[in-house]
């Protein structure tokens, strides 16, 4: 009985969380629709896709070896960046990007996206690989398969977990702002565009775009949840 009541409390909390994030936005007087939200949206989606595809092989390799504890020590090295503000990551990258002359370019955005999404993608892939059997390795190694072939079969064995990790990486790329504020204000991405809308016209100018992004985020998060449920990954 108590657990039934608790369930309603938890559901109410989830609904409350969603309402807090969405309803107050409509209370602003004089909401205006952003002039061109397609360009930053399209840019961010395209760069996120490129960064995810470029970062995925590295994430797969790192996760595979880390999940076998052969190089478990690299995990803190990879994940420390999640513990610091991403503006700091931008500042750390700035001298390098300046040296290569890519500040405020698409490559700067993509590289920054790879750097911020790699820890979360690797972490998620480690969980996905951990769900596949160690015995699969033990069976395949004496058969003469090399590590890349073994990784290929692990990816097939945990395909839903891998897909969930890819979506997670993509979402992390899509939502990045801090690093872009330092290394790439242009081409325009959604985070920077939102920041500029707010700076120029206040909340009324930026809230509708925030809601569009919230709906987009909710859509992708739902897809991620469904895939994760099927894959048994949390």
């Amino acid at each position: 009985m108590a657990s039934g009541r608790l369930r309603y409390v938890v559901l109410s909390l989830a609904v409350f969380y969603l309402l807090v994030l969405t309803v107050p936005g409509f209370l602003y007087p004089g909401l205006s629709f952003p002039a061109d939200f397609f360009t930053p949206l399209f840019n961010t989606m395209a760069y996120s896709t490129a960064a995810t595809l470029a970062g995925l092989p590295a994430a797969l390799l790192l996760a595979f070896y880390a999940s076998r504890r052969e190089i478990g020590g690299i995990i803190p090295v990879l994940t420390f960046s999640t513990a610091i503000p991403h503006t700091a990551i931008g500042l750390l990258l700035l001298p390098l990007f300046t040296r290569f002359g890519i500040v405020d370019t698409a490559p700067a955005i993509i590289v920054a996206m790879i750097i911020v999404s790699l820890p979360i993608g690797t972490g998620s892939l480690i969980s996905a690989f951990a769900s596949t059997q160690k015995s699969l390795d033990e069976f395949l190694q004496p058969l003469g398969l090399n590590d890349l072939q073994i990784i290929g079969l692990h990816v097939r064995a945990s395909s839903l977990g891998v897909v969930a990790s890819i979506i997670l990486m993509w979402l992390r790329c899509f939502s990045e702002l801090g690093a872009f504020l330092i290394v790439a204000n242009r081409p325009l991405t959604v985070g920077v565009y939102l920041f500029e809308l707010f700076n120029r016209g206040g909340a009324a100018a930026a809230v509708l775009f925030s809601l569009i992004l919230a709906v987009t985020g909710l859509l992708f998060s739902t897809v991620l949840y469904v895939i994760s449920r099927k894959a048994g990954v949390r």
């Binding site: 160690k134 015995s135 069976f139 004496p142 058969l143």
Partner: protein
Amino acid sequence: MKMFEALDVEVMRKNFRISVDYLKADGKVVLLGRNGTGKSTLLKCFAGLLKPVRGRLRLDGKDITGLHPREREIGYLPQEPVRIPLSPAKLLRYFAARFGVDDREVVRMFGLEEIVAKTALSQGENQIVNLAVVMMKRPRLLLLDEPTSGMDFVNKIFYWRLLKKLSTPMVYVTHDPVEASMIADHIYLVGGGHVKGPYENPLKDKVEEFLNEYNLYRFFENSRS
């Protein structure tokens, strides 16, 4: 002559040690012992998945102690059932292409006609397919870690009969004396951190004769439908 030898081998895993003074497998050798006595640890060492603390491993006279599992020319079936995410037909084709053998020949040799037509396999059927995959490599030594655990009796007998047909030397781990009697030419007893043996299998062929005498395989097979 095809032969595997373990000479004065000691393996350590966590705080557990298992040692063997001398083990020779030129036929079907069974490591028999209770759960947790170190049989699997020893087999992993033979497969190259664990390094021995001391001792040498020789396969057909060649020292394989320091070799990676890939280079050992062995086939290994771990205790935990391995599920490769391919249908049985695709799986056999994948490895047949890799090892340059005809998958249809393998299907015929192992009697897998029914199994390859399926998309989902029982644990026992899966183990049978995995054995076929391992044998495609034509290993010089077969290492099998309780491969029939979780199988029903019909699949067990089918599996044991397959093994009896193979001429490849094998080290077979089990805790079941009946299974040991069915398979082994020689039995090594594992317990107290040591391996004792070899002992002649006094029941060699007797279990098979018993099964045939009462037509038990047919009985169990028919009782499924």
